[in-house]
Symmetry: C2
Subunit: 453 residues, 2 copies
């Protein structure tokens, strides 16, 4: 019996198991759910063992990491590390769910429930792929390691240190992550680029205490106004970032890449539908999906100063604060971005106020060459297992742990999206399309075989 | 016995009475002090009656207004209305007081306690002036009305309606307010100009919900950034307000006035001492005290958008809000300022976001001609009663009720400052200098006589 035949025979059982997993409310951010998070970890470990892997929990100061491995292929054979997470987001607003978030329900070919797509259904597809091969063939075509963490939704707090402390244990030729979305059922997507991050806090101060705007309005450079003036100086009128040197290290899009990304452009119409904003905005000379995927940006994430309650208070505030973050692309160093931001802000701060730009955190961008062998294996796997050639995609967001894997383990990362754009991962009525589950399992089976070649 | 001799004989008793009044913790904003506020009103009414006035309380939906009158001068004789307030500010931070705020203490010629200067000591000086004249002469030289309210520290909530509903009762030739500060004991000051107010709220919105800055950073015009860009467009680089028409109706300073105000300029050194700001700022071509007193200004009183807690959240906020207020000078109409602000903001709002400028409240500026007869009476009163010629001063703040008196009653307002700049009215260790109390009483006695001429 071949692995795919085995899986076909057992697919109802696999679905029942996924329903069991989704039923565990493993909300990592809520202390009340601590026992549920551990129950989910134990459940995943047991599933790994049932599949034929050796598995154990690694304790952290937060939630445990489930580690499983099967390493019986001869030395020198490739190793595949599969990453996922068993923790889920909270369920608010609960009133908007059509069925209970932790009582999974199948409707119209979809499995509804919190965590079905993000990420229980996606990583479980890989686990059932390994299970199917081991049951059918008695062995895997490559060595396989699973790292399934319980803190992805709260910032992967302890996973970075775990990776750095277990380089030998985790040594691998490729890291596979399925925690992203394909573009449609007919158009699977491989993300090959994630943006990095440089998150800062800008504080402008002037007087050493709040003043009465009647007595001092007109002679003090109002820090809230000065903050606005400085922030207005961070972009050029054409939408580009005005900080000198900001684009210096950006890896340019090549023509092949632009034409590939241009096959399925993000349209103005789709933009308006998704955002509700009156019109798009941004750096001239780049298409919308190039701006979010391939260009670095600078965003104001928050502003606070003075009186913000209802009604009026005639305060002239002593200070004003902004949260500012840059999304970075390949070859940009977050530490250097912070330095040039600091220099630019010092340069445009007038002598009438003080400015202080503080670094809160950074994360490097991640990038995998589309022409690398692991990408070729992923393409072949999608063609064979999913039944469609994948498109390559640049993701505007950041998954900091991906660059940790890449840098610490020195292995390329392949992000195979088994979800769909309408899965609603953090909202009510999250779902995972059953067809994605089946095709994900088949694609993973195929990928492990492709990696053996 | 002349009134000033009578007052000299009784000045220790007057001080004891003031101490009694200050001992009542009539904090109008704190519900716990409701009985104290009423006790203070009753106490003031009894004092009016003891002075020989007819007095009563007018109830409001908030704290009562104490009204007293003596109207026995022949018809056609002038009437003087004296305004003050018996309510006080809270006392926080209590730990910084050297003696209990409601256990008045005399140290170094000052009476310390909450409300001593603002405004119990100041209005009480006028009441003891009337008392002294009535006791010494059996009659006043002019008709006198007192309006002492209990809600000044909470925005004079009910006084405006009271004035509009009691035009006949309050009819007068002049309104005297002592709730401001002289420049020093040797340099009494008459405030002849108060700034008006137009308080607004500006909301910028773009997307119809908060977005992920990774997915949409670079294609959405971030409302927090757009708010900053719009606010940066409200001032010119020379510190003037960039809103077209903003200065159209401003009554210009004449040469005599500039030279008078220039006798005691607000220096850069004093500015730095008072504010702690690194350098002064503002409209070029005007001295510091001209900018605060004679020029309209535009201030940002508050900013709020997106994530403002500790640490980082990569939100692209759907909206951003600013509190913006203009201080206005004589002849500027707050309603017109709101209209031109709305037009300018609509004009500079790009098509990528929406803007909404809402009017929260307005107050007209107040201005009394320095050459008017009531001002001449006040000058003579200071010279005779205080023992020094007063300086005329423009106050940067607003006392909205002053323009209500001016407009509804059609009478000029004279602001005779019996306080001193270091009285600390809203802070800890508020004090009233005893010499100011004595000179205030003498000045008020003199003013009532001057008004009879």
């Amino acid at each position: 019996m071949k692995p795919r035949e085995y899986f076909s025979a057992y697919q109802q059982q696999y679905l029942n198991e996924l329903i069991e997993l989704v039923s565990i409310p493993s909300i990592s951010t809520m202390p009340d759910h601590l026992p549920d998070v551990r129950r989910a970890a134990e459940w995943v470990k047991a599933q790994m063992q049932a599949a034929g892997l050796t598995a154990r929990l690694y304790e952290t100061e937060g939630h445990p990491i489930v580690y499983g491995e099967w390493l019986e292929v001869a030395a020198g054979a490739p190793t595949v590390l599969i990453y996922g997470h068993y923790d889920v987001q909270p369920v608010d607003p609960i009133s908007e769910w059509q069925s209970e978030p932790f009582t999974p329900a199948v409707r119209d070919g979809n499995l509804y429930g919190r965590g079905t797509s993000d990420d229980k259904g996606q990583f479980f597809a890989h686990l059932k792929a390994a299970h199917s091969i081991l049951q059918a063939d008695g062995r895997l075509p490559v060595n396989v390691k699973f790292v399934i963490e319980g803190e992805e939704e709260i910032g992967s707090t302890h996973l970075g240190a775990f990776i750095r402390d277990h380089r030998a244990l985790l040594a691998t030729d490729v890291v596979v992550v399925s925690d992203t979305q394909s573009r449609s059922l007919d158009l699977p997507a491989i993300v090959y680029s994630l943006r990095g991050m440089c998150y800062m806090e800008l504080e402008i101060s002037g007087p050493d205490h709040d003043l009465h705007s009647g007595s001092f309005g007109g002679v003090v450079h109002n820090p809230a106004q000065a903050l606005c003036e400085i922030i207005a100086g961070l972009h050029n009128p054409d939408g580009s970032v005005a900080v000198p040197g900001f684009y210096d290290d950006v890896r340019a899009l090549d023509d092949a890449e632009r034409s590939e990304l241009g096959r399925f452009p993000y349209t103005e119409e789709a933009f308006r539908h998704d955002t509700g904003a009156p019109a798009s905005w941004g750096e001239q000379g780049y298409l919308l999906h190039e701006r979010t995927g391939a260009r670095p940006t600078l965003e104001v994430n928050g502003l606070i100063s003075g009186w913000t309650g209802t009604g009026a208070k005639t305060v002239l505030p002593a200070r004003a604060l902004a949260k500012i973050s840059c999304r970075l692309v390949a070859d940009q160093d977050p530490a250097r971005i912070y330095e040039i931001m600091k220099a630019h802000i010092a340069h445009i701060t007038p002598p009438t106020v003080h400015s202080d730009l503080r670094l809160l955190h950074t994360g490097r961008s991640a990038f995998t060459d589309r022409r690398s062998p692991v990408m070729q294996a992923a393409i072949a796997a999608f063609e064979e297992g999913w039944g469609a050639a994948p498109v390559f995609w640049r993701e505007g967001g950041s998954i900091p742990i991906v660059s940790d894997f890449q840098e610490v383990l020195g292995a390329p990362v392949v992000l195979m999206g088994f979800g769909l754009p309408d899965d609603g991962p953090h909202g009510p009525n999250e779902k995972f399309t059953l067809e994605c589950f089946w095709r994900g399992i088949a694609t993973s089976i195929s990928f492990l075989h492709q990696m053996a070649r």
